[in-house]
């Protein structure tokens, strides 16, 4: 049981990292941090981006559930 959820968590983590990296980075790095420059937002997002968002959210939920489940299982 523990091993199974651990493997699921590892897979979800890897997928999560991959999906986050697939997103186009919004907000250009540190120069925007702490006030500086103007932020430009250009329109809505494309279909690809929206599907990616949906996929990322689903993966995120799975990841979260895995963490909580494993945490409860491993509780001493």
């Amino acid at each position: 049981m523990t091993i199974g959820i651990s493997i699921a968590l590892i897979l979800a983590s890897l997928l999560m990292i991959l999906l986050v990296l697939l997103h186009k980075g919004k907000g250009g790095g540190l120069s925007d941090l702490f006030g500086g420059g103007f932020s430009s937002s250009f329109g809505g997002s494309s279909v690809v981006e929206r599907n990616l968002d949906r996929l990322t959210i689903i993966t995120g939920v799975v990841w979260f559930v895995c963490i909580i489940a494993l945490g409860l299982l491993l509780k001493p």
């Binding site: 091993i3 651990s6 968590l9 590892i10 979800a12 983590s13 890897l14 999560m16 990292i17 986050v20 990296l21 997103h23 186009k24 980075g25 919004k26 907000g27 250009g28 790095g29 540190l30 120069s31 925007d32 941090l33 702490f34 006030g35 500086g36 420059g37 932020s39 937002s41 990322t56 995120g60 990841w63 963490i67 909580i68 494993l70 945490g71 299982l73 491993l74 001493p76």
Partner: protein, 438 residues
């Protein structure tokens, strides 16, 4: 002030943005208290208590501040946005050094996107490194040197360790994504709002700590100095020099353009709090190295001894001087990166603008450079002095290292707060409402 808030909530799209931001913040805090599976939560809580009582356990001051106390709890979001900040710093420095990156930066929007993408890759790389380092520290018991409890439940199981490292790395990725979501669909800049959240999160606890340990009088003094400092910081953050620019009238077809007079706002503290972050990140490195490589078996050599005596605790003269000099240096460095007088002068010339009394082109660039250099001097001094405050307070009141009204936390709170409020206000003003700031 309050009516402005209700107005902000009455505007539909602004309300949506505000609620979205609050939701992300809630998620973020939830992840910051959720322990990584495999960590023994009760033992960590006991160790944390010991470390706080002992007062010398706070060697991870800055990192702990940015992670809102999540780091030493080894929660899912333990690394916080520190990897992202470090990655951004590294890339900023590399842009100056590597010609290819410089070329990318000059490309404008597309190049900037590419640099951001590199930053994201580097963030994940750093996250893997740091999570491995912290899990290793926890495993060998060096995370809390005085504490003898077992922090990890099953510390010899490599599989469990790998799971933990991966979970924390993915957590950093999620934080990065949350930040970008806020930038994209919420209010203000996501990353800074997340830092803001973490700083605010430890604030009440630290204040209560002071009230409980030092009594009502010291508490009152701390509050009063804090409010005075906030006022000072707001004043300097808002201060700017306005260089007048006159635009010539020109005809394009049948329409008249230009003929207006505006100004270039040059802030006294153009660099924001980034120099402080740079400097403390750099100063934190020798501490980390000595903790990682010190084993009690052999006598440490002189370099290590010097570092341990002078750079680990924040109240030694050597630390203060180095910190101050680094901040001044980085202020100038960062201003020179972000504001390029030659570029501004060229742009002005292109659109027919000029500063009254100064010829366009090179003289304008020289003038801008002169003004900026002089203006940055008080800005750098101010940043250095503000950053010194917690260290002085450490000596006078005997407060802990992450003193609640510490310079960096105040700079972050005020800087991000002002910025976000300004953004909300500009959105309100699109609908002709009176804003927060009069």
């Amino acid at each position: 002030m309050l009516t402005a808030f209700t107005r902000a909530f009455r505007t539909p799209d602004l309300r949506k943005k505000l609620l979205f931001t609050l939701g992300i913040i809630a998620l973020f805090r939830l992840g910051s208290v959720l322990p990584t599976p495999g960590v023994n939560n009760e033992n960590i809580a006991r160790c944390l208590q010991q470390a706080q009582a002992g007062d010398s356990g706070n060697i991870y001051g800055m990192v702990q501040l940015f992670s809102g106390g999540a780091l030493l709890k080894l929660s899912v979001f333990a690394l916080g946005i520190m990897p992202y900040i470090t990655a951004s710093i590294i890339l900023q420095l590399l842009v100056v050094v590597i010609p290819r990156l410089e070329a990318l930066k000059k490309e404008g929007q597309a190049g900037q996107t590419k640099i951001t993408q590199y930053t994201r890759y580097l963030t994940i790389g750093l996250a893997i490194l740091q999570s491995t380092a912290f899990i290793a520290l926890a495993r060998s018991g060096q995370l809390f040197p005085q504490c003898r409890e077992e922090i990890l439940i099953d510390k010899d199981n490599i599989f469990a360790i790998v799971t933990m490292v991966l979970t924390m790395t993915a957590g950093t990725g999620v934080i990065m994504w949350l930040g970008e979501l806020v930038t994209d669909r919420g209010v203000g800049n996501g990353m800074s709002i997340l830092i803001f959240t973490q700083v605010i999160a430890v604030f009440p606890a630290e204040l209560l700590n002071i009230a409980r340990q030092k009594g009502a009088f010291v508490f009152a003094v701390v509050i009063i100095t804090g409010i005075a400092m906030i006022a000072l910081v707001v004043m300097v953050e808002q201060a700017q020099r306005r260089i007048p620019v006159q635009y010539a009238k020109r005809m394009v077809g049948r329409r008249m353009y230009g003929g207006t007079s505006t100004y270039i706002p040059l802030k006294v503290n153009q660099a924001g709090i980034i120099p402080v972050i740079f400097a403390s990140s750099l100063l934190y490195l020798p501490q980390l190295v000595t903790t990682l490589f010190s084993n009690s078996a052999e006598e440490p050599n002189q370099v290590v001894q010097w570092i341990e005596q002078n750079l680990v605790r924040g109240d030694t003269p050597a630390y203060m001087i180095i910190f101050f000099l680094l901040i001044v240096f980085f202020t100038y460095f960062y201003v020179s990166i972000t504001f390029n007088p030659v570029e501004v002068a060229d742009n002005m010339k292109k659109y027919g603008g000029f500063i009254p009394g100064i010829r366009p082109g090179r003289p304008t660039a020289e003038y801008l450079n002169y003004v900026l250099t002089r203006l940055t001097a008080p800005g750098a001094l101010y940043l250095g002095l503000i950053a010194m405050v917690p260290i002085v307070a450490l000596a006078v009141v005997g407060a802990s290292q992450n003193f609640p009204f510490g310079g960096t936390s105040i700079l972050i709170m005020v800087g991000v707060g002002l910025d976000t409020v300004k953004q909300i206000e500009s959105q309100l003003q699109q609908r002709n409402y009176e804003g927060f700031l009069k």
